[in-house]
Symmetry: C2
């Protein structure tokens, strides 16, 4: 299916970057005659999005924004997704395809089945930045990134092909997963890192020596704590909607830390452990397309 | 005191970068007539250092390398420092000043008192890279970095001034600390981040779903796990020599993870917590001179 009318609901970092990446594809001739419509609950954000040329039109009326779309991309925090589905449902045609970008998928896919009158394919681009908002949106945010898609048993091959085409148009690589498998995987590879990042700021900051600590913090601390600067609301929604998958990782990490505390002077075991972790990470990074140090 | 003969013992990333940074200062006219001599136990490393112009001379004989120096910089892993002190001691003059770059300071300062026949000021540049070795050395590694110095009660103002001048010559900012206070601070701000980074690789990698995890890992995981790619031997030595200061942080983090696991659906508390951590980290990063995202 070819498509030329896309509507993005929610013009934050991800929604805004989807707009810019789609318009980049249109400029390059990949998508002919594309119109990107945007909607956001904040008038100021809609105006910013228009000013930055993130979207072609940004009507204030949600029904008017989605009514004409062939594809609707819902790009709001996870816990806002259900309300958006309910709000747009009356305006969608049976042929419209809806997708989203939320960080957890099982709940969202359930809401879509419950509320939407048209096909839905869950989506999750594995890209982002701790600097959120439409002002930080960029057309290359998804370049080379993995973009998870979670079709269900009712998804037709044509629908999946359309959404995969959308993903490729913004520069990303589609990866088909079950919603529950997706949620388990991001718990380990995305949600656990965020929570460790946050603890790494929280704990030293609670010490009376914090001023001394921050005076000597170097790039290592800055990198490991980077995710703690992410959007609190987004991460809150992630924890709430993926608690069951995240919890075992927190407990396992706590156990591992206790083991490490006990074995901190076990010289041969420690060296072996650090060598193995380094080998795993080095190999992992070497295999990534857009590897930075 | 002016000085023009510096010897660096150990030509890895830090030793090599010290050489390049000192030679950069000489080129800029900050240090007139400077000669940088280097020594490393590996002949290949000495040759690489000469080829990269990291040092002016690199004799194979340690006594000859240090005998003529006004300042000797010992840049080997913590647990190798004691042996180097013992090996160079017979060749040092009472007027020589020795400093080091090791990541923990209390033990090293004790060894210096025990073994060296001349003034010693412990040093620790808060800079580095997970890419070690003289081949990754660069002249700007220390630019803008905090560089801890740990003089003791016997250190004369003239000696401290000389070592501070050395630190400034390589582009860093000296920060005077007690050795024990230094070790407590780096446990929180450097050693804990490394260990969390390592666990973050170890734990998911032990899962049967690891291939799925790594396929969707994004920049967030890459950043938070970066320190796990650091030098295993260096981090091993750090844990062994600073276990007493690191252990309470590991235990505190384990407790915090358990608390988080219990409170993962406590919506208001979670949001407040993430907002506070973000505010602390944003404020911290904003205050850093060489801030990258």
């Amino acid at each position: 299916m070819t498509w030329r009318r896309v509507t993005i609901v929610g013009l934050g970092l991800i929604g805004g970057s989807m707009g810019l990446a789609l318009k980049r594809a249109a400029t390059r001739g990949t998508l002919a005659d594309l119109t990107v419509v945007g909607w956001d609950q904040h008038a100021e954000t809609r105006e910013l999005a228009l000013a930055r040329n993130v979207v072609d039109r940004a009507p204030g009326d949600l029904g008017r924004a989605v009514g004409d779309a062939e594809i609707v991309i819902v790009a709001v925090p996870v816990l806002g997704t259900r309300d958006v589905f309910a709000a747009i449902a009356p305006f969608l045609r049976p042929s419209t395809i809806v997708t989203d970008v939320a960080s957890t998928k099982a709940l969202v896919c359930g809401w879509a089945q419950e509320l939407l009158p048209c096909p839905f394919v869950g989506g999750h681009p594995m890209a982002g930045s701790e600097r959120g908002g439409v002002t930080n949106a960029r057309d290359n945010l998804f370049d080379g990134a993995t973009y998870c898609l979670t079709p269900d048993e009712d998804t037709s091959p044509a629908t999946l092909e359309t959404v995969s085409g959308l993903v490729e148009a913004v520069g990303a690589r589609p990866r088909i997963m079950q919603p529950e498998a997706h949620d388990r995987a991001v718990a380990a590879i995305s949600h656990l890192p965020f929570l460790l990042s946050t603890l790494l700021v929280e704990l030293p900051a609670a010490s009376p020596d914090w001023e001394e600590f921050r005076a000597i913090a170097a790039t290592g601390f800055r990198d490991v704590s980077r995710l703690a600067s992410g959007d609190p609301r987004m991460h809150h929604d992630i924890c709430i909607t993926n608690a069951a998958a995240i919890r075992p990782w927190l407990v396992a990490t706590a156990r591992a830390l206790e083991g490490l505390a006990d074995g901190l002077e076990d010289s041969p075991a420690l060296l072996k452990r650090f060598e193995e972790a380094k080998a795993i990470r080095d190999e992992m990074i070497a295999g990534q397309p857009s590897a930075s140090p």
